[in-house]
């Protein structure tokens, strides 16, 4: 009898092996892309330097701003002084707690709202009203609600991260192909197994996108909160530099915020990828 497998020649259905020529071309492409990116950063710095040293004054005035060279000097000076590191540590700690709490609340609530009509009806109305309120607008209330500024700042960070994560989770569950749930049930999955085996992994890519966005917004919110009610933290550092007329440090603080925000979003994305291996597959996996 003919084996069923003989009807097919799998080799025909998949693309051939990777050719080394393709690999070299890929490297060249990558190198070019990096060179171009580096060049654009260098150009920005150069324009900044020129605008400052020539005292550019047309609508935007550059004569009060520190030059890149001054910023570098002030950064070097900070190396001797652990001040900036302390501020960064404080901010990172607040992000860690606030973002962690937001994750812990937003994902389960989002899964419930996405899956159960009852949960949606019970929870969505107040959340929809609160959602458009920017985290900054929460600052006065946060100061009134919490006994220490520390708690209120963590709360602001929490608010900043909570809604993006919540909405992405709900979206992830709701956009799941219902046929997958149907298929799992015909294969004998009960309600709990459907949740664990289908709904959770199915909405994971969307949840991870939400976490990455939430990380960005939580930095955004934290820095604002620190400027208003902080005593430590990178946002406080930036604002304090302004009040002390220590202008190069403003730029330094801004850069630190940018780098920290980008780095932590990237970190979330990278860690997230580990959990969704099926979304970045190519034909040349093995």
């Amino acid at each position: 009898m003919k084996v069923a497998a003989e009807y097919f020649e799998p080799a025909e259905e998949l693309a051939g092996p990777v050719i080394s020529d393709d690999k070299r071309r890929a490297w060249l492409k990558l190198a070019r892309s990096f060179a171009l990116r580096g060049l654009s950063v260098a150009l920005c710095l150069y324009l900044w330097q020129v605008a400052c040293s020539h005292g550019w004054h047309f609508i935007v005035q550059f004569q009060n701003l520190p030059t890149p060279a001054e910023v570098v000097r002030s950064a070097a000076a900070l190396g001797d002084n652990p001040q900036l590191a302390g501020h960064v540590f404080n901010s990172v700690r607040r992000i860690f707690i606030g973002f962690g709490l937001a994750t812990a609340f937003a994902i389960p609530i989002g899964l419930l709202i996405g899956r159960f009509r009852l949960a949606e009806d019970a929870l969505i109305a107040p959340l929809e009203v609160l959602r458009p309120i920017p985290a900054v607008a929460w600052i006065p209330v946060a100061i009134l609600m919490f006994t220490t500024p520390e708690q209120s700042m963590v709360f602001i960070t929490f608010i900043g991260a909570f809604f993006p994560i919540l909405l992405s989770t709900i979206h992830g569950v709701e956009s799941l192909d219902r046929r997958l749930i149907f298929a799992s049930m015909t294969l004998g999955a009960g309600p709990l197994a459907v949740f664990r085996e289908v709904i959770l992994p199915g909405s994971l890519p969307s949840i991870i996108t939400g976490l990455s966005i939430g990380m960005g917004t939580s930095w955004f919110s934290l820095v604002t909160a620190e400027m208003i009610s902080g005593q430590f933290g990178i946002g406080y550092f930036t604002w304090e530099s302004y009040t002390l007329q220590n202008y190069p440090d403003i730029i330094l603080g801004m850069l630190a915020i940018g780098i920290l925000g980008m780095g932590s979003s990237l970190l979330v994305k990278r860690i997230g990828r580990i959990f969704v291996p099926w979304t970045q597959t190519s034909l040349h996996r093995e």
Partner: protein, 299 residues
């Protein structure tokens, strides 16, 4: 096919007889209820292969949903091996048109899913899934994700995912309609091969006349809106069937008969206009895809 693994326990693989009597299935409720399927009588003997043939939107998928246990029936009776269907169960496997493999699971894990749900040990379900994947020619693709496979390969995984549970009835909802002609024919041959091996009862829904005749013992022609059995005829062609059959005079005769029936059914004459009107009304109320209908029930 090797007889180790799943094929050994032959008694468990035998199909179950299926009886539908005056089955009526509606969408909506009360005054707005629309019958998608009305007064369907259908009997399939244990281990039989019956194709349900009809144009798109004639309620074929709805019928599959009812037998699978997802669509409640408004009236009539629906029994499998003498027992009334009350909900979905692993004794009935469903193979859908496409894209119902779990994208986040590897081929092996997809096929293991049903066994996992039944609490089969990891080692055993791995062995059984491997054996069945070998049988459908995918033994080398265990660690791939569905998105890395071609459409035909994905459908073979879907079939394996159902077969590994040794269902007594397999319900196939236009499983090959999204495939190119050549792949489709390969799949049809493979399905017959597996069927002769496993001897499960098959209900195969299709709108392709060739496919219906080539595969089945009996073809049931359904008319649309509401779905009713218009005619049914036996296909007494010898098995095993091969490509030669497609040009066999008896095959041609059956096909002509079938075409005539369907043409009469679709109404060439004055009925056309009337039907278009009712179709439009019907479409308003009826979700387009069976998936949507089932989705509403599941979700």
């Amino acid at each position: 096919m090797t007889t180790t693994g799943p094929a050994q326990d032959v008694t468990a693989l035998n199909g179950a007889a299926l009886h539908l009597e005056k089955v009526r299935i509606c969408f909506g409720s009360g005054k707005h209820a629309v019958a998608a399927v009305d007064g369907i009588d259908l009997s399939v003997s244990a281990g039989g292969f019956v194709s349900v043939l009809g144009p798109s939107g004639c309620g074929k998928s709805t019928l599959i949903g009812a037998v699978a246990g997802f669509m409640p029936i408004a009236s009539g009776s629906l029994r499998i091996a003498g027992e009334t269907v009350r909900g979905p169960g692993a004794d009935r496997g469903v193979v859908f048109q496409q894209h119902t493999l779990f994208p986040w699971k590897t081929v092996l894990s997809n096929v293991e899913f049903g066994l996992k749900m039944r609490g089969v040990s990891r080692a055993e379900r791995r062995d059984r899934a491997r054996a069945i994947l070998d049988a459908v020619g995918l033994g080398d693709f265990l660690r791939h994700y569905p998105s890395q496979l071609s459409g035909g390969m994905q459908q073979r995984v879907s079939l394996a995912r159902v077969l590994v549970n040794r269902p007594r009835v397999i319900l196939m909802d236009e499983p090959f309609s999204a495939l190119d002609a050549q792949t489709r024919f390969q799949m049809q041959e493979m399905l017959l091969e597996l069927w002769s091996e496993f001897r499960m009862t098959v209900i195969f829904v299709t709108h392709d006349i060739d496919e219906a005749i080539f595969l089945s013992d009996r073809v049931v022609v359904i008319s649309p809106r509401p779905g009713r059995v218009r005619a049914e005829f036996p296909v007494n062609l010898e098995r095993p069937r091969t490509a030669d059959l497609l040009t066999d005079p008896e095959f041609m005769r059956l096909k002509r008969e079938c075409l005539a029936l369907m043409r009469k059914e679709s109404g060439r004459d004055a009925a056309v206009k009337a039907r278009q009107v009712s179709e439009a009304q019907f479409a308003e109320r009826l979700p387009q895809e069976s998936g949507d209908i089932l989705g509403e029930l599941v979700g």
